[in-house]
């Protein structure tokens, strides 16, 4: 038990790092992803093109490569960023592409009649998006959006490879412990992630039930 007592602080720090990373990156991803989704359905072609380019690029790039560019590439244009902010930026930018896809599939799922009715009432593009389409879209995308964010929590583990002391980094850092202790570390790490993901999954289910609309 000495091992547990000695490393309790280390573990707590790592857990809080993962939690903070997840919250900040999630916020960035949600804001940017929604913006991108709006751009992808907008009437202005260059905005559509830009958003499509962004999504296609990030969807086909490994997150590790995104990390690479943020951490090692940005200094090449005289823009030095710390490891933790770099991790937030990488995970956030990467996840935004998937948030965009989830929101867009929600926009497409809103039946055409809704948008047509909004147009017929004389609402502008912005109004029909804000007042009619997006509120309905967000309801249908609660489960996929929740899944994207939960997958993002697990993706933050990649920060461990880039000098961020998060939960996953505990395994290589405590690698000198004996078999029993290291197994304990693994269990702790897995439980640590589940402490974040399982309540999120429950919350997603509850929100889904609460906002669900019948169609």
């Amino acid at each position: 038990m000495d091992f547990v007592r000695e490393n309790a602080d280390l573990f707590l720090d790592a857990f809080l790092t993962t939690l903070g990373l997840s919250l900040l990156a999630g916020l960035l991803a949600l804001v940017l992803g929604t913006l991108l989704a709006a751009m992808r359905v907008s009437p202005i072609p260059p905005l559509r093109g830009l958003a499509t380019f962004y999504v296609e690029t990030f969807r086909n790039t490994p997150l590790t490569v995104v990390f690479f560019f943020i951490i090692f590439g940005l200094p090449q244009i005289d823009f030095v960023i710390g490891f933790f902010p770099g991790a937030v930026l990488s995970v956030g930018l990467y996840t935004a592409a998937f948030v965009c896809e989830a929101v867009r599939s929600g926009v497409n799922a809103v039946s055409g009649g809704q948008a047509e009715a909004a147009r017929a009432l004389g609402l502008t593009f912005g109004q029909s998006l804000r007042e009619v389409v997006l509120p309905q879209a967000f309801r249908t995308v609660v489960p996929p959006l929740g899944n994207v964010l939960i997958a993002m929590v697990k993706n933050t583990s990649i920060a461990a490879g880039f000098s961020v002391s998060d939960l996953s980094s505990l395994l290589p850092r405590l690698v000198n412990a004996d078999a029993g202790d290291l197994t304990l570390v693994l269990v702790g790490v897995v439980v640590g992630y589940m402490v974040i993901t399982l309540p999120s999954a429950l919350a997603v289910n509850r929100i889904e039930r609460r906002v669900a609309i019948l169609r």
Binding site: L47, P62, T64, N147, K154
Partner: protein, 301 residues
């Protein structure tokens, strides 16, 4: 988008606004691109000789990158084949009529989906040796990828098998086929055909995840580029750093774009195919496309 219902076909006023918006948008993009380019050029990153090294066989760079790419593809192919086989077994196990098989398999699938892929790889790489099982970086990477992807593919296959029209199964039983025959002769061939585009999409995810090998120092594409960077930095300073990273990223993106395009092509081909008429189309959920661990909420209902 087929018909834009969100906005009217623009009239003269709106067209002018769109033109202005277009101009502003293009301007913003151009300014950002120009800023980046100026910064890069200011640091001498755009000098042709810095890029020429990527294509010059004498520098050994193309060969080294090629070998690294080969190792990446090796991991992806071995991983995909093993994951497909294991995934099929898990899917059939999950649909088993024996309760205990179902419970065990479901627990396994949920566990491997809930754990971050990197933690799985770390467990194989750092923890197993403590119990006397020493895996090379290659097998630790492949092992982690197989366990995670098999769990995801099992769910995909299960959805595919369930999507085959009930009448097919009933007709097969009516003809006197056994359970195994119904599965292997009737359900799986139709399901797999329908699943083909999704399988290719999953290959994209797996290929992206091979880059995790970088973190456990397996010399795949990214680690290969990093190794070259370190080698060149010793000799000439970091003048080739940026170029090598760009090369690695472009290779990933190019391969994945081709695969994504292939998935869409196969999807179009199978849509009109009579052999898949008794199934409903499925799509890879967005969270699975992210790689590194799928969602906890079951997306297949």
């Amino acid at each position: 988008m087929t018909t834009p219902v969100l906005f009217d076909v623009p009239g003269p006023k709106a067209r002018r606004r769109i033109r202005i918006g277009t101009a502003v948008g293009v301007l913003v993009v151009v300014v950002i691109a120009a800023l980046v380019l100026v910064r890069l050029a200011g640091n001498g990153q755009l000098e042709p000789q810095r890029w020429a090294v990527l294509f010059d066989p004498a520098s050994q760079v193309p060969q080294a990158l090629g070998q690294a790419l080969l190792r990446t593809l090796q991991v992806a192919i071995v991983g995909m084949v093993l994951a497909t086989v294991l995934g099929l077994l898990l899917a059939v196990g999950r649909l088993s009529e024996h309760r205990w098989v179902r419970v065990v398999v479901t627990t396994l699938i949920e566990f491997f989906r809930a754990v971050p892929l990197l933690v799985l790889i770390f467990a194989l790489y750092f923890l197993l040796p403590k119990f006397g099982i020493r895996l090379s970086a290659f097998w630790a990477l492949v092992g982690g990828l197989v366990l995670y992807n098999a769990a995801v593919l099992a769910e995909i296959f299960r959805a595919g098998i369930l999507s085959v029209d009930r009448g097919q199964r009933e007709a097969a039983y009516g003809l006197g086929m056994r359970k195994t025959q119904v599965m292997t002769l009737v359900l799986l061939p139709q399901a797999v055909r329908r699943m083909l585009p999704v399988l290719i999409a999953q290959l994209v995810v797996l290929l992206k995840d091979t880059s995790l090998g970088f973190i456990i120092s397996f010399p795949e594409l990214l680690r290969g580029a990093r190794g070259l960077v370190e080698f060149f930095t010793l000799q000439f300073g970091n003048q080739y750093t940026f170029q090598l990273y760009v090369a690695a990223a472009v290779i990933y993106i190019a391969i994945n774009l081709v695969l994504s395009w292939l998935a869409r092509y196969v999807e179009r081909r199978t849509r009109g195919n009579a052999k898949t008429a008794a199934t409903t189309p499925t799509e890879l959920p967005a969270d699975v496309q992210m790689g590194g661990g799928g969602g906890v909420v079951p997306t297949v209902r």
